[in-house]
């Protein structure tokens, strides 16, 4: 017999050609039996929704039906009919069932409502649950939105290297990458480990940012973006940190501070709007189960104009708040880096909308940011979001060779391996700027999830590299 072509559940649920023969395949979410009729809720990962398989137990082998338990994998063929039940439009009157894989009662995803901590220990199977299916489909959609946005705007996807021999940016602690035999480490006369025989002939690490290489791309191709894994070896056991995460870093030539802020706002609104347009079912589920204000918050970000706030004005607002009796844990004054509580006060209480903060004191920002004419502030731009805090960090870059070198020397940054970066300022230097977006921070915002370990398939954190 010719096997009938499989229809994905997401497509089957949209069909209206009642009476047609359809085949669906997937994993059993529930199987309810009675004398007269069996109902199997089947999910295949293509949508958060299940399709209901209606089975007349008289027509099937009872032992076979009893093997169709939660988690088992089956193929069901039957007639597509309009559903009588609430909350679903179609169901399948089944006349053929096949079991691909049974599933014992020791199935770790058997019970509903397990804790997120339990789920993390079974991250290989949590993907089969409603919550993690929804999160992963949204994660996919955000990646697609990002690629589409930049492609449509003439940016080129640029693969900056992961393994690097330079550690200049100092954005964080690094993982060492080596092929050396750690049982036989040769050392020189001063007792220093010799790296001549390591794979790259020198000490190498995993990158903490692709920005510097991205600047090479932007000052050649005009506008690029990176989207790849990034690593921080910080021993931070928080719901906001991963040792391995994905980062997006666009870099654009011939952009100024206003252009950069326009890009940041337009980009992030596009991503959030994409989720609203393309992930409705998953968002509705998360809005119901995880965070009842999620969809409202996403809509408000798309609808609001972001506030553009120079740091100096931000400090004034915060100092006034303190004067008026608002209590912060950390002190705030011109020159200090804002704490999360300060950012959230501005975003969630004072303005009640996203804020792009600009023109920070140069001492609290990186060496490559363009120095303003005041000599004190730099053209950094952080986008601050409700709940998340800083979601984007960007800046116009200093394109003047002498100013950049002065900053490097003032900060005692070791530039011996950075000749190639300085060459961009030496040969046809060009005004440019860009920003970095932590992908998982975006996913946290768009899903309403609270722990960054729950928005990436297999989180890497201190003491954890399972799966």
């Amino acid at each position: 017999m010719q096997e009938i072509k499989r229809t994905k559940v997401v497509d089957a649920l949209r069909r209206t050609d009642f009476g047609a023969e359809v085949n669906v395949r997937g994993w059993v979410r529930t199987h309810r039996s009675s004398k007269a009729v069996d109902f199997i809720a089947l999910n295949d990962g293509s949508t958060i929704k299940n399709i209901q398989i209606v089975v007349d137990p008289a027509k099937f082998d009872g032992d076979m039906l009893r093997q169709i338990t939660t988690g088992s994998c089956i193929s069901a063929t039957g007639e597509l009919v309009e559903s009588q039940g609430a909350g679903q439009t179609v169901e399948i009157q089944c006349h053929e069932l096949k079991i691909y894989g049974t599933c014992g009662s020791d199935y770790p995803m058997q019970k509903k409502g397990q804790s997120f901590e339990y789920m993390r220990q079974h991250a290989h199977l949590r993907l089969r649950t409603n919550t993690f299916g929804a999160v992963m489909r949204i994660r996919h959609n955000m990646a697609i939105a990002i690629h589409k946005y930049f492609h449509d705007h003439g940016f080129f996807y640029f693969h900056s290297p992961l393994i690097t021999a330079s550690d200049c940016e100092g954005a964080g602690q690094m993982f060492q990458v080596t092929t050396k035999n750690l049982y036989d480490l040769k050392k020189d006369a001063d007792g220093k480990i010799i790296y001549d025989d390591d794979f790259f002939g020198k000490q190498a690490s995993l990158t903490v940012s692709g920005q510097l290489e991205g600047e090479l791309g932007a000052t050649a191709l005009g506008a690029i973006y990176t989207f790849g894994p990034t690593f921080r070896a910080e021993n931070s056991n928080t719901p906001r940190h991963l040792a391995e995460f994905w980062m997006i870093e666009p870099e654009v030539s011939f952009i100024d501070l206003n252009g950069l802020m326009d890009l940041e706002e337009d980009f992030i609104k596009y991503c959030v709007q994409w989720a609203l347009d393309n992930c409705q079912d998953d968002l509705e589920f998360l809005n119901k189960m995880i965070d009842k204000t999620l969809i409202e918050r996403l809509k408000s970000v798309v609808d609001e104009s972001f506030v553009r706030l120079p740091y100096t004005e931000g400090i004034k607002i915060l100092e006034e708040a303190v004067a008026n009796g608002h209590k912060f844990e950390f002190p705030v004054s011109w020159g200090t880096d804002l704490a999360s509580e300060h950012e959230r006060y501005l975003v969630e209480e004072y303005f009640r909308k996203p804020v792009i903060m600009t023109d920070y004191p140069k001492e609290i920002k990186a060496f490559y940011m363009k120095i303003n004419d005041d000599g004190k502030t730099v053209q950094g731009t952080d986008v601050l979001f409700p709940q998340i805090g800083e979601i984007i960090g960007g800046s116009v870059r200093e394109e003047d060779y002498d100013k950049l070198m002065a900053e490097i020397s003032e900060r005692n940054i070791p530039m011996k391996d950075m000749w190639w970066y300085l060459d961009t300022r030496k040969y046809g230097s060009c005004p440019h700027g860009g920003f970095g977006l932590g992908f998982e921070r975006l996913i946290l915002f768009v899903t309403g999830m609270q722990n960054i370990r729950d928005v990436i398939p297999f989180p890497r954190t201190p003491k954890t590299a399972e799966f």
Copy 2:
């Protein structure tokens, strides 16, 4: 004065509103001067084409004009006019010039026709050349095609981890990832290094493949693809190997061998067609400068039906060729792995079209491939391309727990860290398959470039981790 909005060169060249005032910004490719008129060829990376800036030297400061040398970065404003010259449709009658960055005569990309080896030593600036601009724009387009193909076909982009504590697949030598102080390595009583205090609490490496984690994704979400960096610590100094490369690994539930071959063929044709449709200018340049048969070869791949050839039949063809006097360097008989010369004979001489080879002897393939009923062959599928050889390697996976375990034990594969992989066969096991495509192999094929180090911005190879 209000600055006029910049137009990208790619857009300016398409405009036909002659007489309009336009502003372009970019890097000077050439500057030819004469008494009556200066011609500046300007490129901004948005296209391989330059736009011609026509300057009346009488209207500008001579010292300023002399600073506009090859490699310098400028802004030019003027009237868009129909071009008189051959090979261009528009040019700009310039009335305003601004220099962003000058460029000395020591500019490493000063001369045309430098060797690829020289370019690699200046990989940070080679991006500004015609060849590498073309390659990088095509690379971008191939990435976009891949995301679009899978998104349109209901696959979810799945981020498998880069850092891994399992090294089961044995696809290649691995890089160790550590935060240990190599000057103070603690050892246990047996002299073994203690990893309790390493970042992940155990020995960790960079992944050689995301497939096993991809299978977890596919058996939950239905169909996924990975697209991320992959690492091999092999000391291979060849034009075909990188220590860090990007790989695409789709994995699909409920697919059989024919379905998998259909997917492979449809996917790769889509990518090549995308290049033909979207990268015309760059392909024409490469066809002229790098490989005169490039476009013809790309078209033939799209037009031809791929041959589907069981390994056993392939061996017969090769043995007949030997019998008829064809000389191969390596012997060929049933059970041996094909050498590149054998694959190329089949593809380039015998069939003269791409070949999908299937049903290999199980001994020469990985443990997870589905065993055929003959007990001898497995459902592997390699797509063999002209010039490139194997461009895709895939298989239907063994979904039967007992058969898979028998294979694992026969091969003495250490599975202690692989309980999570086996769980996919234990709980609701599902027929599935997938393939891997080395992204740089695809870029080599689509660009006609000969060395894999020239199709990635900053190649990582033995002794090389520059930039």
